[in-house]
Amino acid sequence: APPRPASPGRGTGTRTVVLAKPPVRKLAKDLGVDLRAVAPSGPDGIVTREDVRRHAEQSLPRTPAEPR
């Protein structure tokens, strides 16, 4: 790798930690899964759809008969 000069910059401000790609975050939300509680298996510690689904299976599945 080329030598990297130390950053002379002031940075880009806050960087929010991203746990998963946006659609996966939506899936987690729809399934009522807290992403922070899911063990990530993707590259760079990213939570995958499978991780979310596996986690969701542990909680009670919803059925149409139940009030939500």
């Binding site: 880009t12 401000g13 806050t14 960087r15 929010t16 991203v18 946006p22 659609p23 975050r25 939506k26 939300k29 729809d30 919803r62 059925t63 149409p64 939500r68």
Partner: protein
Amino acid sequence: MSESGGTFDLVILGAGSGGYAAAIRASELGMSVALIEKDKLGGTCLHYGCIPTKALLHAGEVADTVRESEKFGVRAAFDSIDMAGVHKYKDKVVGGLHRGLTGLIKSHGITVVEGEGRLTAVDEVTVNGAVYKGANIVLATGSQARSIPGLELDGERIISSYEALRLDRIPKSAIILGGGVIGVEFASAWRSFGAEVTIVEGLPHLLPAEEESSSKLLERAFRKRGIKFELANPFESVKTTETGVSMTLANGKTVEGELLLVAVGRGPVSQGLGFEEVGIRMERGFVQVNENLHTGVGNIYAVGDLIPTLQLAHVGFAEGIFVAEYIAGLNPVNIDYDGVPRVTYSEPEVASVGITSKTAAERGIETTEFVYNLAGNGRSQILQTQGAVKVVAAKDGPVLGVHMVGSRVGELITEGQLIYNWEALPAEVAQLIHPHPTQSEALGEAHLALAGKPLHVHD
């Protein structure tokens, strides 16, 4: 078709956007479906709403393009609007889509029942004496134009959008009561056709449900186009005169016009249909449902303009699909109404998804915002359109709202729809450099700026 009644997994009353979407999805899921319609498959949207209005607006765009062709180096002479020709074009589009929909419904094996239906028991609808029993029932009777006390529509001088869409002439001058989506769209189309238009709106802005900055940009553009409006100045009284209509406003001012279009909203079609008799709860005529669109009575659900959710065709589609899947036990995700895109197809267009900055404040959410002016967007300069893209994001969090004004921006809002509904962070959008030169870049630039890395941003 069927005229003899029968028993079905699902009986749907009304074949507009909500009803027919439920029918298609239910049939895909293996249900037997009866779809009851007293008028035409497709309902308001296809025949008296979305499609015909957009055809008028496009004819208006064509007229404006001709008038302004010189500024693009094209020599042409505008002659006139041929209203019969406009209707022919409009009716051809509607007719083609209607034929397509009819074939679609047929190919799904859905039983279409022609006639006016009435709920006669908790599990049955009666049409011309024939009884349709349904293990489940979906009410989807939609809405109709309404007026306000003291304002009688006569269908000639004082009309609703229904008559306005059929008008065989261009009014020399028109008053439009109501600065919501329908009022604004007619104002835009008629102005393109050459009419003098005045919008009367009791609230302080056109499109009062939109982000205030969007309303202001629209007002500025309308002013330039010579569309007049009276804001925060409610209607007081109206009388018809020899030559048209004269309206007096709350502040005493009078407005004259050849005709008056009343566009103050649409009320549910729910009277005398047997809903209350089986115990369905109604409020101001709207059928009340829970978050699963269930009425609380038997297996009766309701969708579309009949319930007090956003009166939009695609909300009807979404609700129809939801109900069909819910009945089938598929466990669908509840609709997030904030995440439904809204488009006003005027010139310029106004589009939004998510919440406004005002709503965010009311909910106590701390936000950051960025407004990207289309003056910095190459494609918008090529189209010679003005406007802006405003993105509202939670502080250090996801995008909460996207609000746009400009020619053709209605087609850009689905990107906002994904961003909002998937709760993307500005930085995640900023990483994806948009194609150059497109109008969609304005959305990209706003996200780049919010992510702290503005590219083509002029102060």
